[in-house]
């Protein structure tokens, strides 16, 4: 339309409005004669006239009021930018009858959180305020990976608020029935979700909290497949065994008898009747959800609420098998047992239910997916004797025996609270302690520590004379002390990380005598009870091996194992398994001498130090659940866990004496991300919190990509300029590389399964790469063109190798043989320098062909990266401080010093790890680790 025509239409519209409506037709007939240039004119004027009638109210209210109305409709609290404690509201996430949820920034930790507020008009509604507070109270009492985490609760200017973890994903509802379309989940998924829900419920019930409103809308599935139970708004605190009067009062306030609360479709029969609820009411609701996940339809349906309620009370649930012929009878039994009308006929606890599902997961899941029948009562007929399956059956057996285990008695509020222990400090100097053990006299303590830099040395100390005496040479690290007083040590121990060293295993008498070498390349060891044999952990061809006795492989993993400890009877070995190499998150495991492994407890952020209780019934270990302090936990062989110590500051368990006393350390540590630029004399510390690790620099040396591990379970990818301007948090994960143009950061998110993610450093969209068959990622590096990446990782059950993947899609393509590691891509994108399975460096061509061995690099070298011309590499050897970085010419093998890297402050400095050098060789980054330990022994415990 032209402006002229618009004006003409406008004029006609205006004139027509001046004419009485009944004469407008005639007016338009006359005003718009049917001539060619008038084609469509009349119609357009008429349309506009029609819109005038509609538009009388339109735009009558000013935009400010319109916006305010919209705001009032969607965001009654209207508080963007407002502070609640140290949380600042960013934007609204959603609104519901029970609360409004906002995206907020936790300014103290710099993380994003979800902040929930009661809508203002409900603030004066006592019932709603009580429910809100109830949710806060119930949820914050719970700390479990399958329950939405509440970080904080507070009141700001009379408005109560709840700070929760921010979840990304969708409600379980979204994966189930939509409208009338049945949409069953694959059995494997349904069982996995069920197992997770049961775990969360068990944790809640253990705390005396009943959910009472479990339904698919209250179950949230995060992007990495973790199920979180939400909305404890209707939850009820059961009176614990020794409840205080306050708690009982709370309970009375919340429910008036006969009141129906919760959603009818997922109610238990006792809930429909308005009777007293108990944990097994949640199990009924769980059964309905499990049924719906497997079947795609609800077990009890009806056209009205009354019909549904009647069905819940009277009808037998339909058989799962009717609609899903592939359904496993064992699974059917589990569902039906949850749906028993009488609570006492259901699973006794969510814990039991979880075990039952767990057993299915390990034993029969492949059958579920292939549709084969599998009898739950005839395990002996199964032909493949896989350890995992045997474990599942052992667990089922254990379940039958320990049906009412003392599950988590240490957790109950006011009941079984970790006892207060009296500690005596043994060391009074600045040193980093790596391992400490009681000598056979039960009093003398042997420990290895570094007093200066990171070279360990073994010392003995007696509590009555706390002056450490060195034994053995520098570079010797303690692994274990036998009942006969013999030390298992590492000679020439090289510091790896955490408390981990690698060296030559040797045995040495505590009193007098030279070490006797046993085996090279060992990381950890422990003695058999009689002191004759050793259990060891060592890395062979890229995999960690547990051997006992030496030479007999009990277990092998592609991640890491640590803290091997033989039970007092010598029949089992306890250890940590860390699925990601170099990462100390993981699980506590026990393995029998026949290789039967049981995972006792999992989900720890960081695990350090493990020992058996003197009676061999419990494994004590120190771990951190949230990245905060280390606590000491005890877990029995049937998986019952307790908190054995949670002293402020946290303790790392070193050893347990035969009379039950502990030896423990408290550490103070810090990782720092450092940058050297030609502009300043001292290197700059760009750290955020206390676990900042440098990764890569932009080529101008102005921007550092680094990780901060203290922020989130999946860590944080951060960017900060060397001018000290505020940092930018890109997202979860461990950063791997910055693209040549500085616009994209590659990161590995250590979720389950791990993900490789490309974050934009400025505008752009986050991308997640298809892992195809890759099970674990070890590294990722950009090609200079920013189109492809070099991935280090492994497929299930295979060794690590390198793959090239196009970021626009396509599966990763293997470019190096299995067993290759520490791969570095040349800037021209043609070559990969990597260690072969034999440990030698070779150059592999991306295009294939024979590998070329390189000059000048030895097994001891750590290659940082290639030089800009793709002819030399930067490398360093060992962990000496300062770190001497050399340029190594790959053709001639010639080495020349590039830089000696270390920060100005070297107190307790254990590692300096160079991470990146710019093409112009003017700037570089590195990570430092500093640590100081205190050593304690508990006073007599019994």
């Amino acid at each position: 339309m032209t402006p002229e025509r618009h004006q003409r239409i406008g004029r006609l519209f205006d004139q027509a409005l001046e004419v009485a409506p009944e004469h407008r037709g005639a007016f338009l007939d006359q005003a718009c004669p049917p001539e060619a240039e008038n084609a469509g004119l009349r119609g357009e004027v008429e349309t506009l006239l029609a819109n005038h009638i509609d538009s009388e109210e339109f735009l009558s209210r000013p935009a400010l009021q319109v916006a305010a109305a919209q705001l009032a409709g969607t965001e009654p609290a209207s508080i963007e930018g407002k502070q609640f404690g140290h949380y600042e509201i960013v934007s609204m996430l959603g609104a519901g009858g029970m609360g409004h949820v906002y995206l907020a920034t936790d300014e103290r930790l710099g993380r994003q959180v979800a902040l929930k507020l009661l809508p203002p008009h409900l603030l004066h509604d006592a019932e709603h305020v009580r429910r809100f507070e109830q949710e806060a109270r119930a949820t914050s009492a719970l700390n479990h990976p399958n329950i939405l985490t509440v970080y904080d609760v507070g009141v700001h200017e009379g408005t109560p608020y709840l700070v929760m973890e921010l979840l990304e994903g969708e409600e379980l509802r979204a994966q189930l029935q939509s409208g009338s379309t049945a949409n069953p989940l694959p059995a494997r998924k349904a069982i996995d979700y069920g197992r997770q829900i049961a775990a969360g419920l068990a944790a809640a019930h253990e705390k005396g909290i009943i959910h009472r409103d479990l339904k698919p809308e209250n179950l949230f599935v995060t992007k990495d497949g973790r199920v979180k139970i939400l909305d404890f708004g209707l939850a009820k605190l059961q009176a614990p065994r020794n409840a205080s009067s306050d708690e009982v009062a709370t309970q009375k306030q919340i429910t008036s008898p006969g009141t129906l609360m919760g959603t009818v479709a997922y109610m238990s029969p006792e809930q429909v009747r308005g009777q007293e609820l108990e944990p097994r009411s949640d199990i009924f609701s769980f059964g309905l959800i499990l049924f719906e996940m497997l079947n795609g339809k609800r077990a009890f349906a009806g056209d009205s609420q009354v019909e549904v309620m009647h069905a819940i009370l009277k009808d037998d649930p339909p058989e799962l098998g009717e609609t899903n012929a592939r359904m496993n009878p064992a699974l059917q039994k589990i569902v039906m047992r949850c749906l028993e009308k009488k609570p006492e006929r259901r699973f006794h606890s969510a814990h039991d239910l979880g075990f039952a599902l767990e057993a299915l997961t390990s034993s029969s899941i492949s059958l579920l997916d292939t549709g084969m029948e599998f009898s739950a009562t005839a395990p002996a007929k199964r032909s493949k004797p896989i350890n995992r399956e045997r474990i599942a059956w052992l667990m089922a057996f254990a379940l039958a025996i320990f049906a009412i285990a003392g599950w988590g008695y240490g957790w109950q509020a006011g009941n079984g609270r970790a006892e207060q222990l009296a500690f005596r400090q043994l060391n009074f100097r600045s040193e980093a302690i790596f391992q400490a053990c009681f000598a056979p006299d039960g009093t003398t303590v042997v420990y290895s520590a570094a007093t200066d830099g990171n070279t360990p040395q073994i010392f003995t100390v007696h509590p009555e004379f706390p002056a450490p005496q060195p034994i053995g040479a520098r570079g010797m690290h303690l692994l274990a002390v036998s009942s006969k007083g013999e030390l298992a040590v590492l000679l020439d121990a090289k510091y790896i990380r955490h408390r981990m060293f690698s060296g030559t295993l040797a045995r040495m008498p505590l009193v007098g005598g030279a070490p006797r070498e046993i085996l090279e390349g060992v990381r950890q060891a422990d003695w058999s009870p009689d002191g004759s044999e050793l259990a060891i952990i060592r890395e062979v061809e890229g995999k960690d091996r547990l051997e006992y006795p030496i030479g007999k492989v009990l277990y092998e993993v592609s991640g890491n194992m640590s803290d091997v400890r033989v039970s007092p009877k010598g029949d089992r070995i306890a250890f940590f398994e860390h699925p990601q190499k170099g990462d100390d998150r993981g699980s506590v495991n026990v393995i029998g001498l026949d290789g039967t492994r049981t995972m006792l407890t999992e989900g720890y952020w960081s695990e350090r130090g493990l020992a058996w209780s003197p009676d061999g019934k419990e494994v004590l270990f120190s771990a951190s659940l949230s990245g905060g302090n280390y606590m000491i936990f005890g877990v029995t062989l049937d998986g019952s866990r307790r908190i054995a110590d949670q002293s402020p500051g946290g303790l790392i368990l070193q050893d347990v004496a035969t009379d039950g006393r502990w030896l423990a350390t408290r550490i103070d540590f810090r990782y720092a991300a450092m940058v050297h630029t030609p502009a300043t004399k001292d290197d700059r510390d760009l750290s955020w919190l206390r676990t900042s690790k440098a990764r890569a620099l932009s080529q101008d040396g102005q921007t550092l990509l680094f990780s901060e591990d203290s922020v989130d379970k999946n860590y944080a990818v951060c960017l900060r300029k060397t001018d000290g301007s505020p940092l930018v948090r890109l997202g979860d994960g461990t950063p791997m590389d910055l693209s040549a143009d500085g616009k994209w950061a590659l990161a590995i998110v250590p979720s389950k399964p791990p993900q490789l993610v490309v974050y934009p450093t400025g505008a752009g969209e986050t991308r997640r790469l298809d892992p195809a068959n890759i099970e674990n990622y070890a590294s990722a590096q950009w090609f200079r063109d920013g189109r492809s990446i070099l991935i280090g990782g492994n497929e299930s059950g295979r060794g690590t190798r390198y793959y090239v993947q196009d970021i626009d899609g396509g599966a990763p393509r293997a470019v190096t043989p299995e067993g290759t590691r520490e791969g570095r891509l040349s800037p021209d994108g043609k070559l990969i320098l990597a260690r072969s399975s034999g440990g030698k460096f070779s150059v592999y061509s991306i295009e294939g062909g024979d590998a070329r061995t390189v000059q000048g690099l030895t097994d001891l070298d750590v290659v940082i990266q290639w030089g800009a011309d793709s002819r030399f590499v930067f490398a360093y050897r060992g962990s000496a401080i300062p770190c001497r970085v050399e340029r190594v010419n790959l053709d001639t093998g010639r080495r020349e010093l590039f830089a000696e890297m270390a920060p100005a402050n070297r107190t307790g400095l254990l590692t300096v790890r160079p991470t990146f050098i710019t093409d112009d060789q003017q700037s570089y980054s590195y990570t430092t680790y500093q640590q100081v330990s205190s050593l304690f022994v508990t006073e007599n415990r019994e």
Binding site: H52, S55, P62, Q65, A67, G99, G169
Partner: protein, 190 residues
């Protein structure tokens, strides 16, 4: 914190009119605050059925933001014009953010068990309106300007006439046409 003196807002408006983007950054929160204050009042009014009270509140909000009594007489028209453009800029931006927040809300989700209890009033979508207004500007800049002054600037017919330097009857006529035309545009796109 209380509102900064109006003089301050005036200076910011002038600075923004001269292309100072920092001034916009300082003005936006002031408008947002009024918006939030209004939303509260709006809710209270809705609940008690006091729609008239809401209108008073809107006028108050405008007065707080753009207090013409303090503006020198010869600058008044110019000042109204600038503030209407500013309100359009900020309110449309606000609406865009709301859209984005809603979209984000679909992905990032936190415990919400019941449906929203508050109904959203049927109101023009500011983002779509802004687009339509841009189209109208190409056909008839004066009509677009009058809509900007009245709808975004909150001006009366008389005030809009003063700013646009046309008669009140012209404003009334142009407003009527623009109103119908925009309504038609928005209905067609929905």
């Amino acid at each position: 914190m209380e509102s900064p003196p109006t003089q301050n807002i005036t200076q910011l408006l002038v600075a923004w009119n001269h292309g100072d983007q920092d001034a916009l950054a300082q003005l936006t929160p002031l408008v947002y605050r009024e918006l939030h204050r209004l939303a509260h009042g709006y809710l209270a009014g809705e609940r008690q059925g006091h729609v008239l009270q809401t209108t008073a509140l809107v006028n108050e909000a405008f007065a707080r933001l753009i207090d013409w009594r303090r503006v020198e007489w010869q600058n008044r028209a110019h000042f109204f014009g600038v503030s209407a453009t500013l309100m359009r800029h900020i309110l449309v931006q606000f609406a865009r953010e709301q859209h984005a927040a809603k979209r984000a809300g679909e992905r990032i989700h936190v415990s919400l068990s019941e449906a929203a209890g508050l109904s959203v009033k049927r109101t023009p979508d500011l983002v779509a309106l802004d687009d339509a207004l841009n189209a109208l500007e190409r056909l008839d800049p004066r009509q677009a300007r009058i809509v900007e002054l009245r709808f975004f600037g909150g001006l009366s017919l008389e005030e809009a006439a003063e700013v646009a330097q046309v008669s009140v009857s012209t404003v009334r006529r142009e407003w009527r046409i623009a109103q119908a035309w925009l309504h038609q545009e928005l209905s067609a796109t929905v």
